[in-house]
């Protein structure tokens, strides 16, 4: 790839970044309901976001810059298998529609800010709260770091190398999320999403006509995979179950992360969440078309050393430089929105479930906001240091593990909304069993997300996160039964009908 700076593209990129800084600062004054800076204001925007702002915010932090770079890169590398992101981001919405309004209501009624708050409110168990909170923060950190991978890809396509541009971009992120809280990314998400829609619609409308139509794009990709001897534009039978379980497991995990939950909790009603479950699939359509940029890379005969360069190189090769600059600005800003929401989500967890739980239980709402602001800064600096000083592969592996880890919190966060029968020790046993077994499988499989299970003549390969969730549920069920049996036996031996 060329390393010569493209000044027109850089100029447009910088202009949009300056716009983001201005919008980010103005956001702190936007839709304020009270002058007080407390955690509900800073971390959840006062739970005031309506349907459209929630749509932009959740769309902006669920479909991240990393997604825009990585999904086409994976499709470019392996073909149809990389497309699991599409069924994943479809089936997530029936789940969101059914579960998230119930979770929103539980959080609203008791003033909860995080999933771990909900868990503590329901079970009254500090150990379970801590396990859920710790899992959430650890799973989110590498996700923030990966947003920088998207940023690096567009910066280097602009010819901007080295650490300085990345540090400047991060300073923008840190300052606006510090001063504006969730309102900053919410307002910037509107700008970012409109830009991304323009870029992707232009790409899917214009690029195929330059490359001879979609038929030719699929044919070119098919031939490239055949020449390479791996991958393909259809799945191999052995990939059916991994494909489906990756989609299902990712869908169940997606809204357990602090950043997606922050978007849900910041909305103003359960109905806002329901209507978003119907509107957010518009982004999925975009993602499906975006994924095809990977095949367009084959049709355009791109020669990239790093798969993550496919999208930037495609735009550089097929569009005038001003439009490439616009697209890169969209992706760059697209990295800032989720990175801000993720660090705010992680900071909310730190403040509520570590600081308030263990350091200062008597903390005031204003004090919570101060702690959270500093925590978000610390999280962002941590992510920047990870990217600057550790191999990117390290963040990728951690993010892979993070998806499996966060999925294990689902029973603790969700089951209590529907049943009063479970107790904290059972959920904690299941959670720990799921985390331990999943980590062990992924580690022993050479840091791959697919595990092979053989039971007698039955054998199957499936997403490790889902396998670990199954183990989690079995342990949860067994401990629950043991406790129930123990309780009823104790009841019999007392032979006094104390309870009805």
């Amino acid at each position: 790839m060329t390393t010569k700076p493209d000044y027109l593209a850089i100029g447009i990129f910088v202009a949009f970044f300056v716009l983001v800084v201005v919008v980010g600062f103005l956001a702190s004054r936007w839709k304020r309901t009270s002058e007080v800076t407390n955690l509900h204001e800073w971390g959840l925007g006062g739970r005031s976001f309506g349907v459209w702002i929630t749509w932009f915010l959740v769309g902006g932090d669920f479909y991240t810059a990393y997604t825009i770079i990585a999904v086409p890169a994976l499709v470019y590398a392996v073909g149809a298998y990389g497309f699991f992101a599409l069924p994943y981001t479809i089936i997530v919405y029936p789940f969101v529609f059914a579960v998230m309004p119930v979770l929103w209501r539980a959080a609203k009624q008791q003033g909860h800010v995080t999933a771990a708050d909900v868990v503590y409110g329901h079970y009254g168990s500090r150990p379970l709260e801590l396990a859920v909170a710790l899992t959430a923060v650890v799973a989110t950190m590498p996700y923030i770091a990966l947003q920088l991978v998207g940023m690096i890809a567009v910066l280097s396509a602009l010819g901007l190398h080295g650490e300085i541009p990345l540090i400047i971009a991060f300073a923008v992120l840190a300052v606006y999320s510090f001063s504006s809280g969730i309102r900053g990314p919410a307002l910037i998400a509107v700008l970012k999403d409109v830009m991304i829609y323009v870029a992707v619609i232009a790409a899917v409308a214009v690029i195929p006509s330059k490359l001879g139509g979609y038929g030719a794009v699929f044919d070119a990709a098919d031939q490239a995979f055949k020449a390479k001897g791996s991958g393909g534009i259809l799945l191999k039978p052995a990939q059916f179950v991994p494909y489906a379980t990756l989609a299902l497991g990712s869908a169940l995990a997606a809204f357990m992360y602090p950043h997606t939950l922050t978007g849900v909790f910041a909305s103003k009603s359960a109905n806002t969440v329901r209507r978003n479950a119907m509107l957010l699939p518009a982004y999925t359509l975009l993602l499906g078309l975006l994924a095809l940029l990977g095949y367009m890379g084959h049709a355009a005969h791109l020669n990239v050393t790093d798969n993550n360069d496919v999208v930037p190189e495609l735009f550089k090769a097929l569009f005038p430089s001003w439009f490439a600059g616009f697209t890169f600005a969209a992706i760059g800003i697209g990295a800032l929105v989720p990175a801000a929401v993720m660090s705010i989500g992680a900071a909310n967890v730190f403040t509520r479930n570590f600081w308030r739980a263990y350091v200062n239980p008597a903390i005031s709402p204003e004090g919570e906001a101060s702690v959270a602001k500093l925590a978000s800064l610390a999280v962002q600096i941590g992510a920047l240091l990870v990217i600057l000083y550790l191999p990117i592969q390290f963040a990728l592996y951690l993010q892979l593990l993070g998806g499996m880890w966060i999925l294990q919190t689902l029973p603790s966060v969700v089951f209590g909304l529907y049943s009063q029968r479970l107790r904290a020790p059972e959920l904690l046993s299941g959670l720990v069993a799921g985390l331990a077994s999943g980590t062990w499988f992924i580690w022993s499989d050479g840091l791959k997300p697919i595990h092979h299970v053989a039971l007698g003549s039955f054998s199957v390969s499936l997403y490790t996160g889902l396998l670990a969730l199954a183990i989690n549920l079995v342990v949860l069920g067994v401990v629950h039964l043991a406790r129930s049996l123990g309780a009823s036996r104790a009841h019999v031996s007392d032979s006094v009908p104390v309870r009805k």
């Binding site: 149809a80 497309f83 599409l86 069924p87 479809i90 089936i91 919405y93 029936p94 529609f97 059914a98 119930v102 209501r105 539980a106 195929p208 139509g213 979609y214 038929g215 030719a216 794009v217 699929f218 534009i233 259809l234 799945l235 039978p237 990939q239 059916f240 179950v241 494909y243 489906a244 989609a247 299902l248 009603s269 359960a270 109905n271 329901r274 209507r275 479950a277 119907m278 699939p281 999925t284 359509l285 499906g288 095809l292 909304l417 529907y418």
Partner: protein, 68 residues
């Protein structure tokens, strides 16, 4: 917590499982033909599930009380 005991909305909510049935058996749609606008079946079939899923959720949405 589903804020209603009426059986009709609860039954309709089972519709939310339909997208899972349509998408989680990849062997069902791992086909090149028939093509649509140059897209192999595998791709346009899955993209088609985006509007179908929105429609299914909308059916469930309108069957339930919007209490807020």
């Amino acid at each position: 917590m589903m804020n209603t005991n009426r059986s009709r909305p609860r039954f309709i909510q089972l519709l939310l499982l339909v997208p899972f049935l349509g998408l989680l058996d990849a062997g069902l749609y791992n086909l090149a033909e028939p093509k649509l606008l140059g897209f192999p079946f595998f791709y346009w079939y899955q993209l088609l599930w985006v509007p179908i899923t929105v429609f299914v959720i909308w059916i469930v949405y309108r069957s339930m009380p919007h209490d807020d």
